[in-house]
Symmetry: C2
Subunit: 560 residues, 2 copies
Amino acid sequence: MAFTENVAASRFNLVYLALTVLLLQYVPHCASITQTVGQPWPLPQSYKSGTNVQSLDADTFLFRVVGNDCDLLREAIVRYYKIIFRTAADAAPSHEDEVLRFQPKSDPTVLEWDQYNTDESVLGSLDVKVEDKCVDIGYPSLDMDESYALTVTTGSATLVGKSIWGVMRGLETFSQLVYEVGLGAYQVNDTEIQDFPRFAHRGVLLDTSRHYLSLRSILQNLDAMAYNKMNVFHWHIVDEISFPYESRTFPQLNIQGAYQPAYTHTYTQENVRTVIEYARLRGIRVVPEFDTPGHSLSWGKGQPDLLTKCCTKGVFNGHYGPVDPTVNSTYTFLTGLVDELSKVFADHYFHLGGDEVSFGCWESNPNITQFMNKTGMGRNYAKLEEYYMQRLVDIVAKKNMGYIIWQEVIDNGVKVRPDTVVEVWRSGQEAELAKVTNLGYRAILSSCWYLNYISYGSDWMTYYKCDPQRFNGTSQQKELVIGGELCMWGEYVDSTNVISRTWPRGSAVAERLWSAEEVKFPEAAEARMEEQRCRLIGRGLPAEPVSGAGHCRHEYDPDQ
Amino acid sequence: MAFTENVAASRFNLVYLALTVLLLQYVPHCASITQTVGQPWPLPQSYKSGTNVQSLDADTFLFRVVGNDCDLLREAIVRYYKIIFRTAADAAPSHEDEVLRFQPKSDPTVLEWDQYNTDESVLGSLDVKVEDKCVDIGYPSLDMDESYALTVTTGSATLVGKSIWGVMRGLETFSQLVYEVGLGAYQVNDTEIQDFPRFAHRGVLLDTSRHYLSLRSILQNLDAMAYNKMNVFHWHIVDEISFPYESRTFPQLNIQGAYQPAYTHTYTQENVRTVIEYARLRGIRVVPEFDTPGHSLSWGKGQPDLLTKCCTKGVFNGHYGPVDPTVNSTYTFLTGLVDELSKVFADHYFHLGGDEVSFGCWESNPNITQFMNKTGMGRNYAKLEEYYMQRLVDIVAKKNMGYIIWQEVIDNGVKVRPDTVVEVWRSGQEAELAKVTNLGYRAILSSCWYLNYISYGSDWMTYYKCDPQRFNGTSQQKELVIGGELCMWGEYVDSTNVISRTWPRGSAVAERLWSAEEVKFPEAAEARMEEQRCRLIGRGLPAEPVSGAGHCRHEYDPDQ
């Protein structure tokens, strides 16, 4: 099909009508939820969709780099070419000067598809413009610019972003606007989008300690995040029960602390690099959490004397408690570990944990009591926690890194540096958000987004309704809320079900954190949610059903 | 390693001790549930495990057919050879006279495994004896004999079953007794088992209408059933929302009634044959359900005039209700369909549905009122349902088929034939079981096993505790309870999550239905449940975690 510029708009309208009639055939029978066609998730800040329809030809479609260029951009274009034309694409794309042109082999399938109109105009290209310098070695960050503008009109389409990260978000949106109407046949409606995220921090926590997650699962989750414009992978990498991180400085941490055999339950240095680079290519930050002083039982196996010995009547009873904050060896160890981690992980932020520190073991230990008496803390164990966190924070600060902590650190009255980000996770989120921001700290919310707690039915609607800025506070306080995270704790989750359990339920959180505050009615989002689920499935992810019945044009098939 | 017969038992004990010490290394740290090693699920009726340990050599191990022989048996042996030696096996096995001998290629892995003792005795073979005639063309049935005896002692192992089906169950058990102690290194403890199922009907219902399930998912589920000794696949193949069964007699049922595109949401005749044969090889019956007169909305799309037209003030209002029982065309159609199904499906039983028939539409339709007046039914719609079910049952009976119905048919006072099997699914199961068996009908239970209703945590324990014979009734009544079924309705389940959601939670139901009544304490089963989950994962199924933390030696990896 050649591109024809002078076709009358009225003809397009007819085509659109025909298409609408056609699409009604896709609507599932009786009680299933209707699906939208070619509508983006999360909803852009400003989104106008016209009735003009153009087709895209996988053999000839071009992404034209009209602004700054870099490998990050080219990687993204190649990725999105394959995503958009996935039922047609197959051959590896090749670069051709600054115009990227791909020649997938035609598909020899004999399936008979719904008939589609082949009469409409053809959209030949998308002009892609990065305004700022496009740096290949750059990493996404909390203050990256993710805004973009995307226009599709008759005969032309343009994507402009200040930064490469905004252009990545825009490519994702463009890939969602294009819909399949037959095997290898794609269409797009006229569209005008101005878009930017409501919150800068839009995270997904995965817990790789309680159950080990395969590298494949982690990368699949990064794909899903990119498809939902999430931008922080909060990697809760170690915890009480296992230590799957392979430390080069302290190899015994992993050899002794991982599930056995350690070979099969460890993230090697190379694995970690793979995750960080895969995330970077998608504009996703990787924020590792090494939770202390509690939740650290597995650390003690490979690091003798790190943990507090719990006592009964003053005598060690065989159990271990939180990190022992009273001995210098603890800080020597932490300095060594933080030094390694600051080199391994690329993000400015580091999650220091600090949740659920039980004081019982500290209370039972005579050495700790002696230390506290000597330093004037008396029986104030929050002071001891503060002492520990303060020293840990200083170690991290010396590496010029920022940090995030769980809310208990603040709740226990520990003083932290003013640039600390506090993660609110317990119930009573409104009071806590008010309190944390009143103290002048930045906050992220996860209380209402513990997606590991499953329940029967369409629970995504509950997640959709939760808003991080819904609390009593000044506008300055509201601005200190920089985002939120969904948490997928690992008690009942491993590689067998982590993707299906997280997605598309997590898409509800993604839209809440990206789209405008007014976009808050799940009933209005339902048909788009159905399309988003099928989109994830079409891209190879096992995104589970979230409404009572229905289907996708292409169902999940891991063999494909 | 050569087989040595004269090694003293005391030395074996030492080896066993060493093994025990070794196995302690596998136990997950702190709060995870300990796993058993080489213990069967479901628990056999009589199971004695000794402390003697022998190793098995994948290169030389033999299955010796010492009784009757047939392809069904050989298929099973090849299958279980691959399952038992899956980390070593790779090459296709070959038949060698009546002794089957396989030569897998050695594994060149460089992984360093936990050291294991290489000093113990070697078990060279399993003698397999089918006492009855082993018929290749046979199908499993409700009255098949599934009993078997299995003995493993120093230097010899014997499996005896009256029928091929019992031997299949015994092969499954033998495959579970063998455990891996290093790459390609396997061991088995001395064991004595006498086993038979407590209930003859141990089913899994999958719903392929509300969401379509891929053929692959259905076959994976049959694998999981075999690994748990379940023996009935209740295929709830069509329902209100879609009709994925490709009928040759009435092709429009599928073309109009399936999700679109129908090509991708249909079970072809060849697919159905594949499912039935795959199940047969594993001793699993396939009982199809074509639910009428309710739940049949999707049928009406391709079969005009089958459904009742619902009326408002006597005029058709555009909605359709249950099958119209008052017109002859209905029974002509049903006769044709049942004729086809009786040829396509192999099992003696057919599930006729009959649940949740809403009388409202019948009440609204003047033709139905007229028919009821004429036949003296007045306003008794249960009579109309009885009339319909009676005629349907007669059609099925003419084909010499037995049938199962949902409890409402009985609850509504419909009289059915004395050989009917009634499936109890609503709450109040104890009263219902008492009532149904008091009427002299056989019953199967699913009320407490709706596994589609998920909840957070180890809910398998609840399923484990439910007992189908726990109701007030005589021993004759109890004997009329022939088993039960877990149901995985499809509202929130499709190929993305059907296996992980059904297993190993369904293993709880499997043990309840196979093992002795006294085997009923989930706490006692917990460590074995952990091993069973890892066993399913080791065999390639995404069986999800069911305890708060833990790991498997081999984690789930769909790429392997």
